[in-house]
Symmetry: C2
Amino acid sequence: MFESAELGHKIDKETFKAEVPKLRAELLDAQYDMLEKKEFPVIVLISGVDGSGKGETINLLYSWMDPRHISTLAFSSPTDEEASRPTMWRYWRTLPPKGKVGIFAGSWYSQPIADRISGDMRRAALDEHLDQINRFEAMLVNEGALVLKFWFHLSKAGQKTRLKALEKNPQTAWRVTKASYDRLKTYNKLQQVAGHVLRVTNTAHAPWIIVEGTDDEYRSLTVGRIVLEAMKRRLAQAEVQRVPVAPPIVHPIDQMNVLSELDLEQTLGKKEYERELAKYQARLSELVRDPRFVGKRSLVLVFEGADAAGKGGSIRRVASAMDARQYQIIPIAAPTEEERAQPYLWRFWRHLPRTGRVAIFDRSWYGRVLVERVEGFCAEADWLRAYAEIDDFEHQMVESGAIVVKFWLQISADEQLRRFKERQDTEFKRFKITDEDWRNRDKWDDYVAAVCDMVDRTSTGLAPWTLVEANDKNFARVKVIKTICERLENALKDGK
Amino acid sequence: MFESAELGHKIDKETFKAEVPKLRAELLDAQYDMLEKKEFPVIVLISGVDGSGKGETINLLYSWMDPRHISTLAFSSPTDEEASRPTMWRYWRTLPPKGKVGIFAGSWYSQPIADRISGDMRRAALDEHLDQINRFEAMLVNEGALVLKFWFHLSKAGQKTRLKALEKNPQTAWRVTKASYDRLKTYNKLQQVAGHVLRVTNTAHAPWIIVEGTDDEYRSLTVGRIVLEAMKRRLAQAEVQRVPVAPPIVHPIDQMNVLSELDLEQTLGKKEYERELAKYQARLSELVRDPRFVGKRSLVLVFEGADAAGKGGSIRRVASAMDARQYQIIPIAAPTEEERAQPYLWRFWRHLPRTGRVAIFDRSWYGRVLVERVEGFCAEADWLRAYAEIDDFEHQMVESGAIVVKFWLQISADEQLRRFKERQDTEFKRFKITDEDWRNRDKWDDYVAAVCDMVDRTSTGLAPWTLVEANDKNFARVKVIKTICERLENALKDGK
């Protein structure tokens, strides 16, 4: 794997100087083409052994391109903000938008490699993490990103030579510390761990590019040329490559499905409603202030449902049991320009709550397999791959301590019609009903199919769906808040 | 996940009888279309809880289609043959060829689920295995296969009801044993494990189809229709879906590469050659008879190299140190018709040696990233994904105890020319030189690039490449046999 990077590759300074002007001009051209098209981001990972010239090469790339459209992202220990969310959150938040270049100095690989070398991470945990990374990178590529993963390699002797050279030069001597020499001692261990990590993550969609780090000119020219060539090829590519997907399957063959079997006529009398609501609001209020929640857990509530099914009303009953400083309601509408320039899940990742907090999503990431599927707003391959990506997303939340509670509020077609009419006739409710609502109603059956597929494919042990019979608002609201309390209680009890 | 399969789906017998004739006719049509086109196999997995009607449905599918072109594959405990090879070997050997349908009653999922329930497999080991399965299924889909994974589900009450019904019917009562009732006790554990397994392997390319198993008519009609619909859709599909791949990258930028840096002029005098060869042949002969080898390990030797580089001569020197009953030489030429009807790696999987045995591959699975790449015999996406698939293949061998030793024999262009001419001029060597050899020679540089990429991407810690300087045959032969002895010695010492 590292064989090619131990040969003593070298480019002499004259050749380098002669080559750079043309390379710079072409890089700038490609960068501006990208910016104009805004079709894909470039994600460059610069990783490798210490002293292999990562910083120098990044600085050079900056000086060769227009630095206003590059961002460099360096990561050390996670901040408080980061540590209280899923591991990948810090990387999601810094992804470059379409049209821009993001250089990751250190990346999602740094921490697992360091933890494995220090022995803080077991082999099995490392492999699980690497699979996570493979799925993340596959998602990036499926979303159109150009991902270039560089690993700068030095032979053991080469690393020593580089340290000596840095020390000799007064401009760089400060960079050599005792820690630098200590790292020589762990060289073999690093090579072994890196060899394993690179092997497992050397995927067809995002392979590693191993570059010998010894010679500055060779290393930088190599990286510059590869980045240029890959950008040019990606710019010339006619369409986004799409992952192979199994076609959607129409099933069941009878008229029975998870929605048809709901008893929508269940009701709750006013008195009982008020008593129950008060009881569970009080309990919820306590649960989210419980030290076992505040210190380690977070709560993610997802509200989906038919139009006029009463999501808003349920959300208000839940929210009013909590302190406004503790929760945030995130209404999901059409994505902003900034959000459209990112992978689909980005706009949800950004709102994940930190430990001790509650996020209430009024509509959610399920839009892709509901409205986007039904209305044809995305390609079939895109919503078909979304199920696994969503499942992965939610399980990352759960692993980081989140309790994920998902509601689908269902009303009958008749009840929906009644509510639509009521909204039209009531002055202060008129803003709640639009032409789109009427159009969606025409696609009732398509939505039913989409909801059933969604439940089949994303209701999992750790993040199950709760289907709520919502013809009676009282019944629905109590079922929602009661479910939240029960899930919270179980989670705090089990620690799960 | 199982919500839709606990609703009590039911199709009455009349509807069933009325539907079946049309379904049968269409299934047969689709089956014959498939057979004629020979473009893809259909791989149907029938899994699920006990008593959910797996056997019945398989028998029905048989009666509905032409049974001559279906194979049903059932697996219980691995045979000796199977146990002494990588876990997936038993499944590879039974894959249906293009044009045919293979029904897996039980499958690669059965053993891990059973082992997890019994506690014989830890969670981390299970997850590692599931990732293996995901890669395997992705390979199948990338090779064009239609993969349909059915999971038959019963609620706990449903399972009990089915057992009672089977007992009541004299024709089926024999199938209910004490073990059947014992399984009711592990129902919850099974659901939990199955839920996890299904979640992790619910990929976009091969998602699970969960079917309620309670009602015979519903279950069978559902499966029949889904199989039919998927076959029809696949038959209508214009081209094979290809996995997104990163484009190949041309690098290095100087003239230096792993081949150019070899000192091809190294030689070994006749006397020293004979002494060394005899020494290592004796050692090899002992090593492969060592109980630590015979009982647990196998040896896989891969010989690749430039034309006329001397693979055959080296192989003979290695082979002659062993008992002919212990090793097999596998010369890889153009694939047979049977092999062309299978995924690319199938024809190599079939030759994997069992424990205590040696397989010597004269050319190998690297053909895809060498000759097929250079000559354009396969799509770019296919050879680009081959690196990761090959790496996975070799690591499965290593995990099962194989020692994998890979040689690239390199000669200079001049030396090749000399040998070509010599072959033409020597009567008994003339069969060794063909027009194709001369054509390959014209593509020398393309082959160099392909070899360098191959080494960069597939020389791993557990299955490294050894590059052999082969201008001098004596030197090459001794380096080869010496390397084999050293790798064997290390492996037997470390147990790795």
